[in-house]
């Protein structure tokens, strides 16, 4: 079993443990979170044992299923906090937009692995594939997840070898589209976007969250107030203290040192994911690992960034830490798939051409 990446599941487990501790401290239903982590661990093992290459042929079906779920949530979903995001599946709330992050990675990896190069046509095709789920998610409305999907798509395209001019064109289009966006949205959707961009407009909503999260993080100081001894988190001043603002709860209780440990763990996990990409036996596996890297990175940056007031507020969970079944299990599934890539990596003497990376042959050293 020396092919196994032992560090990756170890770090994931450490993160999930910190997550359960923080969820417990935030007075959320920690038992459920433990169940989800255990479920996630089984999914991880199953995904690792599953040959990821068998996903490639069924990618179009997965894409169709993802769209179906997102449409279903539009039609029969449950709403909370003003957005329609949940589907009840056998009594459990399922959040299809969480699942869509993983499915998009699989679908894009499959699509981009068909060609060695990213032509304008392929590039446009990939964006088109993102557009449909993004449009459905933004109409929930969930601007944050939409941006995550777009960022993940751009990240995969970059790793797949998209040219700088192609990536730059998306950025230019986005910048020109932003002023138009408010006119395309209705009433409260537009209002939510405005608040997203300027939280001070909503002193009891987003502006309040922002301020309280900042206070929580700051009051943690160097060493933190200690587990279960946070004021802001324990007393509920931090809104969504177990989900969107779980990092503020964590940082208050564990301080700068704890936060740096958490960020370091994420850093190690991210590097391990990229390392898997470098040893993948095929382009699909490489992009799968790279895409998972993008999903984790984008969410960590957005979540921590909004908790410390660097980025606008969006309902993005902190992977493996935030309370929530869909996100936790999806993340474990993604990491399991990456482990599957790891387990099925190039054999020692295997030769492979990786045109996109420009390397022709490389021999493993004994």
């Amino acid at each position: 079993m020396s092919r196994l990446d032992r560090l990756q599941p170890l770090v994931a487990f450490m993160l999930a443990t910190l997550g359960v501790m923080t969820v417990f401290s935030a007075r959320a239903d920690w038992v459920r979170q433990v169940i989800w982590v255990l479920l996630g661990a089984s999914v991880y093992v199953a995904a690792a044992l599953f040959d990821y290459r068998r996903l490639r042929p069924i990618a179009p079906a997965l894409y169709g299923g993802m769209l179906l779920l997102l449409v279903a949530v539009r039609l029969v979903g449950h709403s909370a906090l003003g957005a329609r995001r949940w589907l009840a599946v056998a009594g459990f709330p399922l959040e299809p937009s969480e699942l869509s992050k993983l499915l998009l990675v699989v679908v894009l990896a499959a699509y981009l692995s068909r060609q060695e190069r990213v032509s304008w046509r392929t590039f446009g095709g990939a964006l088109g594939m993102v557009a449909a789920p993004a449009a459905l998610v933004i109409s929930q409305p969930d601007l944050g997840t939409t941006l995550v999907l777009l960022a993940v798509a751009l990240g995969i395209l970059f790793l797949a070898g998209a040219r700088p001019v192609q990536l730059a064109s998306v950025v230019v289009v986005a910048i020109t589209a932003v002023p138009l966006l408010p006119h395309l949205l209705y009433g409260y959707q537009r209002r939510r976007l405005e608040i997203f961009l300027d939280p001070a407009q909503d002193p009891l909503g987003a502006g309040y969250s922002l301020l309280q999260a900042r206070i929580a993080v700051g009051s943690g100081g160097l060493f933190g107030r200690g587990w279960l001894h946070g004021l802001q988190g324990q007393l509920g001043f931090v809104p969504e203290r177990a989900t969107d603002f779980v990092f503020a709860t964590f940082a208050e209780e564990f301080g700068l040192l704890g936060s740096l440990v958490l960020l370091t763990l994420f850093g190690v996990l991210l590097v391990r994911l990229l390392r898997t990409a470098t040893v993948a036996s095929d382009r699909f596996g490489e992009l799968l690992a790279g895409g998972t890297f993008c999903v984790v990175l984008v969410q960590v940056v957005e979540n921590v960034g909004m908790n410390i007031g660097l980025l606008p507020i969006a309902g993005i969970p902190l992977p493996l830490i935030s309370y929530g079944g869909s996100a936790t299990i999806t993340t474990f599934a993604a990491l399991g798939l990456v482990q599957s890539v790891m387990l099925r990596r190039r054999r020692v003497a295997h030769q492979e051409r990786l045109p996109s990376l420009g390397t022709i042959t490389r021999r493993a050293q004994a």
């Binding site: 001043f237 990229l274 382009r283 890297f293 410390i308």
Partner: protein
């Protein structure tokens, strides 16, 4: 790169990873952005840490003042004269409102419906609050029915709560109002001095009456608690606290029944003679305890404690009968003929007359070309001092005053307590005025001894002798004065306090009789004056009529007075007085009755006193219990 590749091949040696430029760039990006996050974290948690930790503490730890129950005021037998009744208000912690804008709007609409405050006002009040965690009172003084309605809805209204506070509700304010007074918010002038003794700016404090005079006993001591609250304003735990200590229970010297009877008698007397204002004070001549004190018109003190409207307040202020003025302690009027006992005492004690000395009672006397009239336009003949008191002969007392002189007369007046603000347990007590030549000079502004406006004249002296001139007194001073005549010359400090109990019911203090002065006159001389007062109420076809009509034995001593005011001359407006003590041998009560603009004291003031006396006699058992 194809799915035809062989499946898992376990074992073997790990290949060297091939870090392409893009993958390396991705790793570098990840490390860089995590680094940026770390730097920002360090800034928040280390540089701003202390400041933000203080903000966290300010969020969650609140200093709450626990209001002490204000002491209850009772009459001498324990009948409560005021209650602390609860009122409710709706308070909202802005931070406790739903964070979603639509849910919040829904809640605001509901709150607007429940409180009657327009939703727009609510929104601006709550959203613009300087401290999002401090409760904002959106509706004060909720009616009890509304309180129930709001309480029912409260679970669905995050952030909203009902707070309870007690307000003073006075029993029978038109009767007891002037004595009890009322409490109100501390005003700008008081706050500076009261803050030093621990008052909060929003606290209630006694404004007038014994509520103000006994503030230090009634207030109690507020407690406090440092509590940890959660984001919805709910108390999570109490960090430190001191329980409030309720105020003392004060048992006034008033007898509630006698107070009511006094108010009823006075009101009936005023109505009978088309008069609008008056006052009466009944005191115990052996202890100085005030048994009744009434000033009419009264006003509803509950208006002040339950939130008076601008219109009601203006009406009280602009009322020409000045209902807010407690005439019993603050109304200053010439005593008129009720002063003649002082003149008589001075004449007797100074040896100018004896009890047997006979002086004439002509219709007028001529002093330096000025004519001073008696009330009768015919001569009443020769008489001694007792007869002169009984007939209230002005010209007799002109002569005595002239013999005694103004300085000595002023000395005796002061000895009887004239011109002194009594140390009774309420603010606003006026002293009255005992004039003399020095006072007159100072009063006229430009000292010019050749002007009658500055120079004390013989006319001033002789009218001083019948309680006119510049002399002023109050109904309270009159009662203390007649009590001194009744008890043989002891001037007592009038008091409204019978005893005080602490919140545990322990007796704190019982009022001690305090003699503030003794009239420098022999017992015989005072007895001669008392004799004159007894004769007055026993004159047939005059005062005695009222006693017989009321079925009250004319046992005691009384004196009427119809005092002119508003300048000098013949047809001046008058006030009517009656002072009285009883029984004659062992006086138990002394009283003064004042009728503003009263024209005939024997007809207007005296029957009121007789009425009060009648009630006293028939309820002796319960009053003296």
């Amino acid at each position: 790169m194809t799915s035809q590749e062989p499946p898992i091949a376990l074992g073997g040696v790990a290949p060297k990873p091939r870090w392409s430029l893009r993958v390396a760039a991705a790793a570098a990006t990840a490390i860089l952005v995590i680094g940026v996050l770390a730097v920002k974290l360090a800034q928040l948690q280390v540089t701003d840490g202390t400041h933000l930790a203080a903000l966290a503490l300010a969020n969650s730890v609140r200093h709450v003042v626990l209001e002490a129950d204000r002491g209850i005021i009772y009459d001498r037998h324990g009948a409560a004269l005021v209650q602390n009744s609860p009122v409710w208000s709706i308070a909202v912690v802005p931070a406790g409102l739903p964070s979603d804008a639509r849910d919040r709007t829904k809640e605001l609409i509901e709150l607007a419906h429940l409180s009657g405050v327009p939703e727009g006002t609510l929104a601006t009040e709550l959203l613009a609050a300087p401290d999002l965690f401090a409760p904002v009172t959106v509706k004060a003084n909720l009616a009890q029915a509304d309180e129930l309605a709001v309480s029912e809805r409260l679970p669905d209204l995050p952030g909203a709560s009902i707070t309870q506070r007690s307000v003073r509700t006075y029993v029978d304010p038109m009767v007891f109002g002037h004595v009890l007074g009322y409490v109100g918010p501390i005003d700008g002038l008081q706050i500076r001095q009261l803050k030093a003794v621990g008052y909060q700016p929003d606290e209630m404090v006694g404004k007038v009456g014994v509520e103000a005079g006994l503030e230090s006993l009634l207030r109690g001591m507020d407690g406090w608690a440092d509590v940890e609250v959660d984001a919805r304003g709910q108390v999570v735990k109490v960090l430190a606290a001191r329980a409030p200590v309720a105020g003392d229970a004060v048992y006034l010297s008033l007898d509630a029944g006698l107070q009511k009877a006094t108010a009823v008698s006075l009101a009936a007397g005023l109505t009978r003679d088309n008069k609008l204002a008056g006052a009466s004070v009944v005191i115990d001549p052996s202890s100085g305890e005030v048994l009744a004190m009434v000033s009419l018109p009264g006003y509803d003190t509950n208006l002040f404690t339950h939130g008076i409207s601008r219109a009601d307040y203006d009406r009280l202020l602009k009322d020409p009968e000045k209902p807010l003025l407690n005439r019993a302690i603050a109304g200053q009027y010439a005593p008129g003929s009720t002063f003649k006992m002082v003149t008589a005492t001075a004449g007797l004690q100074e040896g100018k007359i004896t009890a047997q000395t006979l002086l004439s009672c002509p219709p007028y006397i001529n002093v330096n070309g000025w004519i001073y009239h008696n009330w009768a336009s015919y001569s009443l003949g020769w008489m001694n001092v007792a007869k002169a008191l009984a007939t209230s002969c002005d010209t007799f007392f002109y002569q005595v005053a002239s013999m005694v002189g103004d300085v000595t007369l002023a000395r005796y007046a002061r000895a009887f307590g004239f011109g002194q603000a009594k140390g009774i347990e309420m603010p606003g007590v006026m002293p009255g005025l005992v004039p003399d030549r020095i006072w007159k000079q100072l009063e006229c502004g430009v000292p010019d001894l050749n002007s009658d406006a500055c120079r004390w004249t013989e006319g001033d002296t002789i009218t001083f002798g019948i309680g006119q001139s510049y002399l002023l007194t109050t109904p309270l001073n009159q009662a203390v004065y007649v009590a001194a005549v009744a008890n043989g010359g002891r001037v007592l400090r009038p008091t409204l306090v019978h005893f005080v109990r602490d919140p545990a019911g322990q007796l704190m203090s019982r009022q001690q009789t305090e003699v503030t002065g003794t009239v420098p006159a022999s017992a015989d001389n005072i007895q001669a004056v008392r004799e004159g007062m007894r004769e007055e109420i026993n004159r047939p076809y005059n005062m005695n009529y009222w006693f017989r009509a009321a079925g009250v034995p004319a046992d005691g001593g009384g004196k009427t007075g119809t005092a002119q005011w508003g300048g000098s001359g013949l047809d001046l407006p008058t006030h009517a007085w009656f002072v009285f003590f009883a029984p004659y041998a062992q006086p138990e009560i002394a009283l003064s009755v004042f009728v503003e603009r009263g024209e005939l004291s024997e007809v207007e003031a005296a029957p009121i006193g007789v009425d009060i006396m009648k009630f006293y006699r028939s309820n002796l058992g319960s009053i003296r219990a």
